[in-house]
């Protein structure tokens, strides 16, 4: 198994380099990497035995593969596959596929790593590969957006690195298992890095602009798979250390509300999706035992939403309300939006019910509220008018390609199949509750939200503020940890 794992983890990186040298083969090489990841991920979910690999002694690389990793790897594979299908007929250079493959490979690496240095290296590679993908179109604006992303992620990773060395000093090992031996500031610094990379709470406010301004396939990749890179280590740590999980959960809940709160008043469709990513990431972190399945259902739905929205004639919701969009595109949008809202027969339903079951007390109430908010937000997407014969795309768009349909059908089909993961969700009480929430949310959206339009200030998303917010989160984390662990 060790050999298979190492070969599999190195394969995308090797194929990525090859596709730079052989740009004609790039697409086929990407297929190989994606298929191997899908097979490996499914195998990890099905075989119930977790594996831990310790390479090069106790201070070396530590990998651990279990069902949780499996779900994340499958998410990564399916989203990459959809992005690949989407890009198949587009004139993308070999360089694009090289970055895509390196991104895919580093994401895989993070989903099986169990020590802080492997996580660091993978996160930095992800940062650089995403930078190059966002800047791929080379317009000044995308260069600025990607530069901003790289800045924020580098600063976060420098803090993270300081935390990692404090863990090493306490344990003479970088393994996850020694986190609690480290001083409080070490834990706070590590969490700061992961929160920022994962787009959690206010340290994640870099995310809306970055995800909204990137090209369609890149947005899908970023929102569907890349944000999970920062989240996965958090989930792992939350599962390993029960003492820390209440605090991580608190940040998750705060993040869920922040994302939904911003998204409720957002008028730009792509930004709305990006903001909803912040809130969904909060859901993933808040119930770590269901994190894998939730991440899968969110990744599939969000990637198909981003791919579809990129092909709509408009991004502004107000203008979309005034036009009609093709019924087929509307169908895709609605199905994915229903899944995120937690509609039965789609993976989102099982994930949401399962995740909410894990919570008790006020957390449960809070997250149910956030779930209702999500329904209200996505009602805006569902209520876009459509018509059967509407022309595809407006001026400036090239229309929908066949690759788009293959990618989106793959994602939607997976959403339906993944629905079978948690069948106990289908009880009468759950179904009634979900339907009540959805109908209530749609009603609220239809009657209340249309009445008033508020433009929330975006001042916190300016670069200067982003860096400042990082220090705010550091203070909050330190205070939180001190309160939780010192007493």
């Amino acid at each position: 198994m060790t050999e298979i794992t190492i070969t599999w983890i190195l394969l995308p990186l090797f194929l990525g380099m090859s596709s730079y040298l052989l740009p004609k083969l790039a697409r086929y090489l990407t297929v190989i990497a994606v298929v191997s990841s899908l097979a490996y991920g499914l195998q990890a979910i099905v075989s119930q035995t977790p594996i831990t690999l310790e390479l090069l002694d106790h201070f070396g690389v530590i990998l651990s593969i279990d069902g949780l990793s499996g779900f994340f790897i499958v998410t990564n594979a399916l989203v990459t596959a959809a992005v690949l299908a989407y890009c198949w007929v587009l004139p993308k250079s070999g360089f694009f596929y090289t970055q895509l493959l390196i991104l895919h490979g580093s994401l895989n690496a993070i989903f099986i790593s169990a020590d802080f240095v492997t996580v660091y290296v993978a996160l930095e590679t992800i940062g650089i590969a995403s930078f190059l993908l966002i800047a791929y179109s080379r317009t000044e604006r995308t260069i600025w957006v990607s530069l901003r992303y790289l800045f924020v992620s580098s600063v976060a990773m420098l803090f993270y690195l300081m935390g990692a060395v404090l863990v090493y000093q306490a344990n003479h090992s970088f393994s996850f298992s020694g986190l609690l031996n480290a001083p409080l500031e070490g834990i706070a610094l590590i969490f700061l890095g992961l929160f920022t990379k994962g787009g959690l709470f206010i340290s994640g406010l870099w995310l809306p602009l970055t995800h909204a301004e990137a090209e369609t396939p890149v947005s899908a990749m970023l929102s569907g798979a890349v944000v999970k890179a920062g989240i996965f280590p958090l989930v792992r740590l939350s599962l390993m250390f029960g003492e820390l999980s209440p605090m991580i959960q608190l940040f998750g809940i705060a993040s869920a509300f922040l994302g939904v709160g911003y998204a409720l008043f957002e008028s730009d469709l792509k930004r709305l999706l990006a903001l909803s990513t912040i809130s969904q990431v909060g859901f993933i972190v808040a119930s770590p035992t269901v994190a894998g399945f939730y991440a899968l259902s969110h990744g599939l739905a969000k990637a198909s939403l981003f791919l579809t929205v990129g092909n709509l004639p408009e991004r502004q919701l107000a203008k979309l309300q005034a036009t009609v969009i093709p019924a087929r595109l509307w169908g895709v949008l609605t199905m994915a939006a229903l899944s995120i809202s937690g509609f039965p027969l789609l993976a989102g339903y099982g994930a949401k019910v399962w995740a909410l079951e894990q919570l008790t007390g006020w957390q449960s109430w809070a997250m149910n509220g956030a779930a209702l908010g999500t329904v209200v937000v996505f009602a805006k997407v569902i209520f876009i008018p459509f018509a059967l014969g509407a022309s595809q795309g407006g001026p400036g768009t090239k229309g929908v390609t066949g690759g788009f349909w293959i990618g989106v059908l793959l994602l939607l089909l997976s959403l339906v199949i993944a629905n079978g993961v948690y069948l106990p969700a289908y009880t009468l009480a759950n179904l009634l509750k979900t339907l009540a929430v959805i109908v209530g949310g749609w009603g609220a959206s239809f009657f209340l939200l249309r009445q008033f339009q508020v433009q929330l200030p975006r001042v916190l998303e300016y670069f200067q503020q982003l860096i400042g917010l990082i220090s705010v989160i550091l203070v909050l984390l330190f205070g939180g940890l001190w309160a939780w662990l010192a007493f």
Partner: protein
Amino acid sequence: MILEACVLGVILLGFSGLVWQPSLLLKIIALDVMSTGVIGYFVLIAARTGVFTPILFPTQSVTYADPVPQAVILTAIVIGLSTQALMLVGAMKLSKNNPTLELDEIERNYLP
């Protein structure tokens, strides 16, 4: 102890540069200062147990520096270098239309 304070001071200095400097180029340099501080911190922690090169002498035992943090920070230095290079290329591209590279100016031009 004094050394540690100095190293942490450098990190803080770099971070405050990131917050307060108005120009993109100066911010990139501030990031470099900060990463130098972090590298220094690793070296400092590696040297807690001794300062000798970790080479095995058959005859005598020396208090050697811990090689693991040094190996790790070598990776981080390389990553930092490539990130800096990419950022400078980005700044170069942006400087064509924003010659002063002032951040407020750039954000006003490119943000919706």
